[in-house]
Every structure is written in C-alpha cells, then in structure tokens.
C-alpha cells in the first residue's frame, strides 16, 4: 500500500522550522539525489529483458521514498528561504541546495513520466514482448541502496492482473501530476535567481573518492555510527574493517581491468 503521499503538501509554517541547520537540508538533498540516481537505474530496465513484477515493485518503493524525501526537503528549504532573518552565507548555501533540489525533482519527474509511458506500453499483465536488451541480473541491490536497507527480500509476486496494473499506473499518473504541481509551486513561492547561484564544487568529479561504494561499505558506515563498547561488537567491527579493505583492493583491481 502506498504511503499517504497524495496529501497536499502544506508550507513550512512559522519561523520555528528554520531553526534546523542547513546541513540537515544538505543531507536531505543528498539522499534525495541518491534515491533519484537509483530510480534511474531501475527505470532503465523497464521494458527490457529483466522487466518483471518485482522490478515494478522496486520502482514503486523507490518512488515512495523519493517522494517522502522530496516533501520534507521542500518544507525545510521553503521555510529557510522564506525566513527573512537568514544570514547571507546561509542563504547562499540554501539557495544552492534549492537549485540542486529542483533539478533533482525535474530529473525525477522525467524518469517517472518515462516509466509511466513504458509501463503502459510494456504491460506485464498482457504479456507483451519485452525487448531483449542483454540484461540478466536483478536490481535488488540498487533498490536496497536507494532505500538504505542492507537486506531486502525480493518480493516475488508473480504476474499481476490487469486491474492491479491499471491501478498502479493510475497511481503513478497521480504522483506525476503531484510532482508537476510541486515544481510549479516551488517556482512561484520562492524566488531564487539562477544566475546568482554559483557552484562551489569542483568542475571534475574526483575519481578517487567514488571508489569502494558497495553495500558492505555502506552497512559498515551506518552501523559504525552508534557503536557499543562490547567485545563482540569490537570483534565484528574489526572483521568488517578487514572485509572492507579486501573490498577496496578488489574494486581497484576491477577498475583497472574494466
């Protein structure tokens, strides 16, 4: 069952909300970017040889996560930007996040529209021919990354019926219109001048730092946050570090081979 995303998002109310620091906003926007990236990978499989009910399910879950993130992001950023008492550098920071957020949402909107179009064309229920794209494996890891859940049971639902599929598609359509409306409202409510926003990051993405991004690493990071000083925990942590080092070495080898 989908989460209640269809409620009309209300604006951030009052100056009390802006007490949250902009780093929080940055983290939210970053996670939204991550979820949208994963969603894109999933969307590229629709209609291909790995298209199945589970893929559609995964897509739906990722979508929901993205939308909830988007809603909270939007509240936060709108409140921040409407706050007149915001200091200048924070405002710049927030504007940067705002631009990133709206670009992200546009990408997401485009992907959703494509998924909708292809989903109606390549219907699972009617057993239409899928394109033989050469893909073989599943995409559960990607979904897991998107939802930040290390272990994800592949939901083997079998072939959905026609009515279920139509319901899903109509839901998707509603979500698309909602995102559309969000984008328009964003444009109306907050006046961010694009030409005044300057990027702070480097022109070229740093290749070294993007290595070693497997799920194992992620789980280590997340679990390493709240560590408890018990021996077993320490042992497990050391084991994980060793595994992590091996993973780093392996990925470096793979990169050089690819």
């Amino acid at each position: 069952m989908p989460l209640c995303n269809n409620k009309v998002a209300d604006d951030g109310s009052g100056p009390g909300v802006s007490a949250q620091p902009p780093e929080d906003g940055k983290a939210m926007v970053d996670s939204l970017i991550k979820v949208v990236a994963c969603h894109r990978h999933l969307a590229s499989c629709v209609g291909g040889s790995t298209d199945s009910a589970s893929l559609r399910q995964e897509l739906q879950k990722t979508r929901e996560r993205a939308q909830s993130l988007a809603v909270s992001c939007r509240h936060h950023l709108t409140a921040q930007l409407r706050d007149k008492a915001l200091p200048e550098d924070e405002r710049k920071e927030t504007e940067l996040q705002w631009v990133a957020f709206s670009s992200c949402l546009e990408l997401f909107h485009a992907d959703m529209s494509k998924v909708f179009k292809m989903g109606s064309h390549f219907s699972l229920a009617n057993n239409s021919a899928m394109v033989q794209t050469g893909m073989q494996g599943g995409t559960t890891e990607v979904t897991a990354r998107a939802l930040s859940q290390p272990d994800l049971q592949p939901s083997a639902d079998g072939v959905p019926t026609d009515s279920v599929e139509r319901l899903e598609l109509s839901q998707l359509e509603q979500e698309i219109t909602q995102v559309d409306r969000t984008l328009e409202e964003m444009e109306m409510k907050v006046n961010v001048l694009r030409w005044t926003v300057e990027a702070r990051g480097p022109q070229y993405a740093d290749p070294v730092s993007t290595d070693s991004a497997s799920l194992a690493m992620l789980s280590t990071d997340e679990e390493g946050g709240g560590h408890r000083c018990s021996r077993s925990q320490v042992f497990v942590a050391m084991l994980l570090c060793g595994v992590a080092t091996v993973a780093v070495v392996l990925s470096v080898c793979v990169v050089y081979l690819a």
């Binding site: 994963c38 590229s44 990408l107 394109v131 073989q136 494996g137 990051g201």
Partner: protein, 663 residues
C-alpha cells in the same frame, strides 16, 4: 532547474516524428522468440552477454518481413540504427548496419528516442561527468569541449550534476558486472545518437522548432471550427490545373535541372557539405570573374534564372550596354529596389524612378504602352511598394521576349560561355577528409559581405553603362545627365542584395572613367556622370527660381541631324549659366562634376557619323517637351544666355497638388 512558466511566443517544440512509432512497432516484432531475429551471445574477456544479433540476420529478417531486396533492407536497418533502436557493439560511432557478422543489440526502451521528451543537456552533463569518473579524466576532444561548455552554461547546477553523476556511478557499481557493461554500452550508444561526434550526420536533425506542441490536443472551440471552415472554403476556391499539364511541367523541370541538383548528381568539384572543402562556394561567388560552366548553362534555362544570378545579370547588363538599351534593365532593377526597400525612402524612390524613366523627356526613357503608363501615373499619386508593378512586368516581358533571345546569340554570351571553367572533381582519401573536417572555418561575416557588396555597387556606378537614347538632342538639354547610372540613394542598406543597381551616389571623377570605359564615338557625350537625380531637384529648384515657362513647339525628326557639337557646347555653356543662376544649386556649382570644356577638342567629322547613328537608334515620342536649347537651336537664335532654365520634368501628380519644392 528550468523556468517552467515561460509565456512568450517562442518556438520550442520539436516537430512531429511520425516514423518513430513505426520503427518501434518493427523493433517489437523483431523480439518475438519464434519469428523474430535470432540472438547469440557476445563473449567478452570474462563475461558473456546474451541477446546479441548479427547485421546479416537483421537484414535477412527485414527482407523476409517486407519482401524487399537487400540494399533497401540495409537502408531500413541503418535507419533503425541511426535512430538508436539498435546499437552496434563493435564500431559504436558509425551508426549503420553492416550486413556481415558484426554484432548489434537492442536498445532498452528507456533510451529510445521519444517525440515528447527532448534530450536534455543536464542529462548529457551528468553522462559526461560519469564518463569522466570512469575514464579518470580521459575524455575525447569533443566531449571535453562539450563538458567545458556545459560547465559554463549550467554552472548554477554544477554541484548537483557532479553529485548525481557520482551517485549514479555508485549505484551502477551495485549491479553485476555484465549488467554494468551492458548499461554502459546502452548509455554510450544513446549519446552517440543524440549528441553525435563531429563529422557525423545525425538522424535526429529536424530543422526548426515549432510554435505549437504537436502532442497537444487541440480544443474544439468555435474559433477552431471557424478556422476549419475558412480553410475548406479556400480549398474549394483554389484554381485547378489538369494533372497532365502539371505533371508535364514537373517532368520538364526535373529533366532540365537534373544535372544541377547536388542530391542527384555530384557537384563539381565536390560538395562542401560532404567533403568540407569550400572550392565550390569560392567558384560560385555572386560576383566572380569567371563563372563555371554549370552556372552559365543555367542562364540558358530561363530569363528568370539569368536575372536572379548576379553574375548573369552583370553579363546581361554588359550586353545591353553594348546594345544601348540598358534602361530597361535599370528600370527593372530600380523597381525591385522599390519593392524590397525600406518604407522610409519609398515615396522619393518612386518619384525618382518616374522622373528618370517614365516621364516624357526623361533621360532614360523606357517604352511602355499607353494603358500601363496611365495606370502607373494614376498610382503614383499615392505611391506604395507595388505601384510600378504593371510597368515592371511589361518591361520584364519585353526584355524576355526581345533582348534575352538576342543575348543568348550574342558574342558577349558566347565569350562568357567559352571562358567558363569546368573544375575537376576532387578525390579525397579518408585521411584528407578528416583533415578537411579539422580545418573547417566559419565563412566571412555578413558585415564584411555587405561592405564588399557596397564597394561593388560603387565600382559599378563609376563605370556605369551609358544609354545612348538619352544623348539625343531631345533628351539631352543638360548633357551631364547623359551618364545617368541609376537611382541616387543615400543609404543602400534597404535592398537585400537582389539588385546590383549601380549607385551613382558615390561615383568618382566621371570624365576620366567615362572616357576610359566608352568607345570613342560616345566620348563626347559622356559628360558628367554626376548624381543626376541629385541634380534634378536642384535644377528643378533653379528652374523654378528662374521660372519662365517656355512654349514647346514639337520637334520634328528631321532635325535630329543638326550638329550636335554645337548643341553640346551650348548645353555646357547653358549648364554653367544655370550654375551661376541659382544660388541654391550648391551641387551643380560644386564644380568638379561639370567640366564642359574638356570635351571640346573633338573633330567635326564625328558628329555627322554619330548623328546618323542616332537616327537609327533613337525612339522619341512625337510630342516630347522641347528644351529651350533645342528651340534656340531651331530658331537659330543666338546662343548665349539661356532663356529661362531647363524645363524640368514635372511629375503630373505634382501639378494637381501644389508644387512644393523638390518633387
């Protein structure tokens, strides 16, 4: 982030691409496991990837499906590859089908070209950033250039782009190795289609963007129905032509122009769009000295072709100059100038044209029938752009039926034909083609081209053609009008380059140039190539100032044979008298333009010969206004001070409305 609520009237929708739906249906048919194309596995170093198909299998399947022959099936297959529905695995930049065992794979529907979603630059930037990460900064040259350009233009979202590229890269790493390879190939193929590397042709070129969204459903409002009704009314009222006639015309056109069509026959030396070598354009410049044979052949197709080609028009002008009937072409060109020129100067232009070409006793009088003249004069009282259209058409037909035929048989044309060059076709090797592609340079800026055009016009004005008709005693009261070379016009930026009318506004010392360019028999009459029309108002003013209307006894033809040298001398004297008469006549008194005495030292024997010559050529209406000089001549009165000024050419509509200074 893009601005969404743009409410201007810009054209931003891509046109309908109806072929995409059809190709999609075809691709889906190919997927059928039983009747579709059979697939193999591609073996890479460590992995094997299924669903690879060979080129020959694709072509064979298409042949079977549509019952066509192999070359056509191959071109259909190439079209599918060019659109991006199938991508090659080996030579990924060349989007064609090779009917051998080279491997292809189907593109995932996410990356299919779609009508409703244009390809975004943001996506391209993300792809380039990802590629940069993967290749550790070793992007190709054009990719590098694009990357820098996008960084400049999309700077405000650059953090987002880099972040998203990193996240997509990391998410990609979550997938299994063969899937990652396939996804990379898919994405690369997608971008080869939509951002083609330089030197390749893209199938997604669609020309201009449209104003209306082709995907939008049009609402059936009363306005819509009203439009449909008007449209159908017009369809019914359209004139019809028998299909045999129209087909005959098409066939004739096709056979005539077949050799000249660069799509059907290779153009010599080589098509610059294909080989990046601009010799063809250099040889076919508008005012080149020696035209190519193909160009000269085109002039023989129709009169319109001759006139539309600037070089052809120049050749025709030369011929007319030799035949002393250049005023027709000059009139036609000035009418074109009027039609296409700026609205500000239109009224003055129309009146100048009338004074120069149409009025009785005009210096470059053209011969049009009475009815057309009537219409024109009536229209000139309220001049607009197309007021001279009837006269222009008449003259055009005259030139077409008469002069054109003679031109094609003339020595001028035959000479041009003989001198025309026929360049050798180029034969470039692959390496040379790449060299040419690298050396591509933009053409001359339009500002420079315009300057060159103006210089050309000035040069032409200086060495302008001479019309002998105006040198007759009846029309040459003031000999300096003899070398009238066209409409005096201060600004020439109005004309779109269609006419290369010699602009007499900028002519240098007329005497020397005129003497150089015209044969001896005309020399004495090459008076003063001044901006005659500039003189006209001034003379008119001076005449009005002196204001004495003369009686106008009609001249008889027989009097043509009177000595012209006397006339000339008197005219020159008269001219200087005029100059002294009118203080307003600054231009005439400006000196330098009027040098009557230099034409003095010519023998008497010449004028007799010339007079006979004139008897043949001149065609003056029986009742033209006689200038005071002529009447003096006939009445054998003493030369000297002219009685009153020259009879200026009064536009008939000006007599209706009170004369107010210069016409």
């Amino acid at each position: 982030m893009t601005i969404r609520n743009v409410r201007d009237h810009g054209q931003r929708y891509r046109p309908r691409m109806a072929c995409l739906k059809k190709v999609e249906a075809l691709v889906l048919e190919m997927q059928d496991p039983k009747t579709g194309v059979k697939s193999q596995t591609q073996r890479l170093v460590i992995t094997t990837i299924p669903h690879a198909i060979t080129g020959e299998d694709i072509v064979a399947w298409i042949v079977n499906r549509f019952k066509i022959d192999a070359p056509e099936a191959q071109s259909i297959g190439s079209m599918m590859v060019a659109f991006g529905y199938i991508y090659p695995l080996q030579d990924h930049k060349r989007l064609i089908i090779k009917p051998d065992s080279s491997l292809y794979r189907f593109q995932t529907p996410y990356f299919w070209p779609a009508q409703q979603w244009p390809v975004e630059d943001t996506d391209y930037a993300i792809y380039l950033a990802k590629r940069n990460i993967r290749k550790k900064g070793m992007l190709e040259l054009h990719e590098q250039e694009q990357y820098n350009r996008l960084h400049k233009w999309m700077n405000h979202k650059w953090d987002f782009i880099v972040m998203q590229a990193k996240e997509q890269y990391r998410a990609g790493k979550e997938r299994k190795k063969p899937d990652r390879v396939v996804f990379d190939c898919q994405e690369r193929a997608y971008w080869v289609v939509h951002r083609p590397p330089p030197g390749t042709v893209s199938a997604m070129d669609y020309g201009l963007d449209r104003l209306m969204d082709p995907n939008m459903e049009e609402k059936k409002t009363p306005d819509y129905y009203r439009r449909i009704i008007i449209f159908t009314h017009q369809c019914i009222m359209r004139p019809r032509v028998k299909s045999s006639v129209s087909i005959g015309a098409i066939v004739k056109y096709a056979t005539t122009y077949r050799q000249h069509d660069p799509f059907l026959c290779a153009c010599l030396p080589s098509n610059p769009w294909l080989t990046d070598d601009v010799t063809y354009w250099d040889l076919n410049k508008p005012n080149v000295e020696i035209p190519t044979k193909m160009r000269v052949e085109r002039w023989t197709f129709s009169f319109g072709e001759l006139l539309n080609d600037p070089r052809g028009r120049a050749d025709f002008r030369l011929f007319l100059k030799k035949e002393f009937s250049g005023e027709n072409l000059a009139f036609w060109e000035s009418c074109e100038d009027l039609k296409w020129g700026a609205a500000v100067t239109m009224k003055e232009k129309a009146q100048q044209i009338y004074k120069t070409f149409l009025a009785r006793g005009a210096p470059r009088w053209i011969n049009i029938d009475g009815k057309t003249m009537e219409i024109t004069v009536k229209g000139l009282s309220h001049p607009h752009r197309y007021v001279l259209d009837a006269a222009q058409t008449h003259i055009y037909m005259l030139m077409k039926k008469d002069s054109y035929g003679r031109y094609l048989k003339s020595p001028v044309f035959k000479d041009t034909q003989k001198k025309a060059i026929s360049p050798e076709p180029h034969r470039f090797s692959e390496a040379q083609l790449e060299q040419n592609a690298k050396k591509r340079r933009p053409s001359l800026s339009p500002i420079l081209l315009r300057q060159q055009e103006e210089e050309q016009k000035a040069k032409l004005a200086a060495s302008g053609p001479v019309d002998i008709t105006q040198l007759c005693r009846f029309t040459a009261p003031v000999p300096h009008l003899a070398v009238y070379t066209g409409i005096c016009e201060a600004q020439t930026n109005a004309s779109p380059g269609l006419m290369t009318l010699p602009n007499s506004a900028a002519c240098p010392s007329p005497i020397s140039v005129a003497i150089d360019s015209t044969p001896a028999s005309e020399r004495r009459f090459d008076g003063h190539g001044g901006p005659a029309s500039a003189h006209f108002p001034s003379i008119a003013e001076s005449a009005e100032a002196s204001a004495s209307e003369e009686s106008q006894p009609p001249a008889s033809r027989s009097r043509v044979a009177s000595s012209l040298s006397r006339l000339l001398r008197r005219g020159c004297v008269a001219q200087s008298v005029f100059a002294s008469l009118s203080p307003k006549c600054a231009v005439a008194a400006g000196g330098g333009k009027v040098q009557p005495l230099s034409t003095e030292p010519l023998t008497q024997s010449q004028p007799r010969r010339i007079a006979n010559f004139f008897q043949i050529k001149v065609d003056i209406p029986p009742e033209c206004r006689i200038y005071p000089i002529d009447s003096e001549d006939e009445e054998e009165e003493s030369p000297g001070a002219a009685r009153g000024g020259v009879k200026e050419i009064i536009c008939p509509w000006e007599t209706v409305t009170k004369q107010d200074g210069a016409g």
